[in-house]
Amino acid sequence: MKTQSWFKPYFDRLSSMSLAIALLTVLALASAIGTVLLQNQMQTDYLTQFGPLWYNVFVSLGLFDMYHAPWFFGLLSFLMVSLTVCLWRNVPVFLKEMRSRKVVIADKSLKGFHHLKRWKLDGIDVTEAKATVSQALFDWSQKSEEEDGRVYIRGDKGRAHKWGYILVHSAILVILVGGWIGAQYGFRGTMSVAENGTDNTIRFLKGTKTEQLKMPFEIRCDDFFIDFYPTGMPKEFRSTLSILENGEVVVDHKDIIVNEPLYYKGVRIYQASFGDGGSAVTLKLFDPVSGKSTSINTEVYKTWKDPATGVSMEITNFRPFNIENMSGPGEAKKFQDLGPAVEFVVRGADLKSVKVKSFLNPFILNGQNRGHMIMVSLSGNESDFQAYPLGLDFSQPTDWALYTAFGEALSKRPDQQDKEANFAAFREAMSKVYGEQRPDDFQEKGMRVLQAMSNLPGLPWPYIPMLEAHDQVYYTGLEITQDPGMNTVWVGSALLVIGLCIMFYVPHRKLWVVFKAEEKGVEITLGAMTNRNKLGFEHEFNQLLTRVDEALRPSTEKRSAA
């Protein structure tokens, strides 16, 4: 073919080892970039991190989603082309090499062998020696020939070795093809379904943008359940799902957990995450000035605005359990469930917006009721929450009554600030709330009210928001994927492992035995070589020699005795 003349140099270059090594190196370096530069983040995060100039440079290079960028794909395609050409060129050569087993070997080449041994035996002829040696080499696949009065045996072990190369390199090709099929015809996205809700659209990131894809079926979350360890770590989350097609239930109430996905018509549905699905919460707002309280009903992810003051609360989360380590530093850990809590962001005209966590239950430490507390995060970050004790147990109406009565009693004595006056005021409040019957825990109550007196006026809001009731709804975060190339990848992986095992653990060992008739007997030369595992072969060769030695000895001994 004439066209080959201009084509061939490129063809050779494509399959050259230098190119392959260069490609592997470039691929390794390129992959490393994507691990240092966080991939698929929000556009705003990148903009604040790098500024508009570098942001645009990185975007145009596709670095924010580089594993799906055209140039990365190009790199992988180049690797595929190089691999294909390499296989195309070398497989026929390998196959030919495996088939041709030259039996006759020149003295000169035999001399160069690292593993070589020569025997000179008397009283034995070539045929007999050959038969004996051939039997000693029973586990070698042998071939023998005669030429110029010499007899040659060629032995082989591990002739499949070259198949190792072929398998490994085709396996990588197969895996890359499988990956390409998956990227081309598959999808991978997430879907959040609230309990008893239904959805059919998955969302996924393409670059820094979110895209949507409609599934040919709907998923209903019938139930969601979380189990916790005593430490508050989630132990298991389990979704009960049903799949509906055209309004008809095709999969009914199937449970999935992490590590156990649901498979339906080529689509896999994984349990990935969970969160609040819009729980209904009732908050009670206590007004420390008027002493009155009002209840409001709202939902997680909704914002409630007080028409009177303009202060708004955006409910961000609800948690039924809040397990915290209550031990001091250096103490053994002590986990305690603080009970349900709601999180919200308070905003207002003259207010710094802060994140607040408000608990349903009062805080009990070592059996003592310390009243309710809230946690406040000035930065809005989860890690910056700090406890703020309110003092009062708002679940007991008497606490609030005692507090307001105490406030009233104090305001009657504006010019008296001493201890005596405070006691008098407290006694007045006590008798107003309880009459003559003092409760047993009045001292504890007194402590709480005093703490509330010092802490509550410090709150910047016009009211104190307390969680009163809740009706929790979870959403289950599902990962929904389809990958038609996956099985191809598994086939490739299996081939890869088999190929590597052959390549590393089945070295091709060759040996030649040359029998030359001498005056009185025969000269035997045994030479052997291996292409891998040279250290191990040393031992194998010595064993082989011992075996041949032992096999030859009796026949010569017998002969010399006779």
């Binding site: 390794a28 490393a32 691990t35 005593p230 430490t231 992490v258 590590n259 994927t481």
Partner: protein, 411 residues
């Protein structure tokens, strides 16, 4: 002739011939028995995990498997003596013996476990495995010192002491891990899990595997000088492990949902076979470079005589990569299979995955230049050292500096 007769009565010969092969088949039978019990046993393998296998019915399945293996192995060996020399049997029997010994050792250690009321989840300081791990730390450090001393006093007993203490370290570490597995169930059946779930546990696993790979090469190729380079690497890890435990990372913690899978028990140890072998390759590479440097400086012949030849060291490094590379490939594939079951895709370009790919590419390139370009010697020795640095980054660096799905071992 005399050599072969003598070796028939040496320790090595019990791994060959009928005794070796029959034992191999017994172990095989026991493994089949335990797998069958896991798959078809009464009530099924479930949340009770390890405890499920520590029952009378489990032992009867294992026993039946072992007996069947022993019988068929003996019969096969008698009928066809050549089969008893099979490489698989001869090469794996010592490891299976070692595994059995380690389990027996753990059983003995479990007898000395303190009373149940002296420890609980919140206070694990009294658990026995902690002291055994400390024993491992000390013996491994001592072994490193002995190996280095051995370089300068090759004729003395210190070389044998080095090997012995390395073996003690392996058995202490391995049995401590097995004991920790058992202890996790003592704390709470719900908490119980295989001891390969966090950085501290896998560090101990890594020490054991690295040392085993090294000791295997040492005993096969008489390369004790290499220990002076491999064991200091392990020692560096030991110090890191001590630091981790001082930071409170040594506690047994319950498994997050993503790790509750049988894949964890397969994927993680396989990965560390890879990492451990790459560490040994690095040790061999360093030994090569040091020997070459000594030769250039015209060091004393007595010092050089301790080292294997340059060619042998080169071969040993390759040998270690030849163990590590297929294991690492398999481990990555197993990880992909797990990811396909837990994360929704076999490959997510997660930093750990990507760095595993980079490690794989680095050693893939090593094999290419070696086999096809015929590179040898110094440049490849440097390559094994650099490759190990990349491996270390993949193992620890990713946990320290990069975030991602593999955040279980976070520092």
């Amino acid at each position: 002739m005399t050599v072969t007769t003598a070796s028939r009565f040496s320790l090595e010969s019990i791994n060959r011939g009928l005794p070796g092969f029959a034992r191999f088949c017994t172990y095989l039978g026991a493994i089949i028995g335990v797998s069958a019990y896991a798959m078809y046993g009464p009530d099924g393998y479930g949340e009770d995990g390890l405890l499920y296998f520590l029952t009378a019915s489990s032992f009867s399945w294992i026993g039946i498997g072992a007996l069947a293996g022993l019988a068929s192995g003996t019969a096969l060996g008698l009928a066809k003596p050549s089969i008893t020399e099979s490489k698989t049997s001869v090469n794996t029997v010592p490891f299976l013996d070692g595994a059995l010994l380690m389990m027996l050792l753990t059983a003995v250690e479990a007898l000395f476990e303190p009373a149940a009321d002296t420890f609980n989840y919140l206070d694990q300081s009294n658990l026995l495995s902690g002291s055994i791990i400390m024993t491992m730390n000390i013996t491994l450090l001592a072994s490193a010192l002995f190996y280095i001393t051995h370089l300068f006093a090759p004729a003395s007993i210190v070389g044998r002491l080095a090997t012995a203490s390395a073996w003690v370290g392996v058995y202490a570490g391995g049995s401590a891990l097995l004991l920790r597995w058992y202890e996790s169930y003592l704390l709470d059946v719900e908490i119980g899990h295989a001891p390969v779930s966090n950085l501290y546990e896998v560090f101990i696993l890594l020490f054991c595997i690295t040392t085993i790979v090294y000791l295997t090469l040492e005993s096969r190729y008489k390369a004790r000088a290499m220990g002076a380079f491999v064991m200091p690497l392990v020692s560096a890890g030991v110090f890191f492990g001590i630091w981790l435990s001082a930071q409170g990372h040594a506690e047994i913690k319950p498994l997050v949902p993503a790790l509750q899978s049988y894949w964890m028990k397969i994927h993680v140890p396989m990965n560390f076979v890879g990492y451990g072998s790459f560490a040994v390759a690095c040790g061999a590479g360093m030994a090569y470079l040091v020997r070459e440097w000594l030769e250039m400086r015209g060091a004393k012949a007595s010092l050089l005589a301790v080292f294997p030849s340059l060619d042998q060291l080169d071969q040993l490094a390759y040998k270690a990569v030849a163990i590590g590379f297929p294991a690492f490939t398999l481990a990555t594939i197993l990880g992909a299979a797990w990811a396909a079951e837990a994360w929704g895709g076999y490959w997510s370009w997660d930093p750990k995955e990507t760095w595993a790919l980079i490690v794989w590419l680095v050693y893939g390139a090593y094999l290419h230049v070696r086999v096809s370009h015929g590179w040898q010697g110094r440049s490849l020795a440097w390559w094994t050292v650099a490759g190990f640095l990349v491996t270390v980054f993949c193992f620890i660096g990713v946990n320290m500096y990069l975030s991602g799905l593999h955040s279980y071992g976070r520092l």
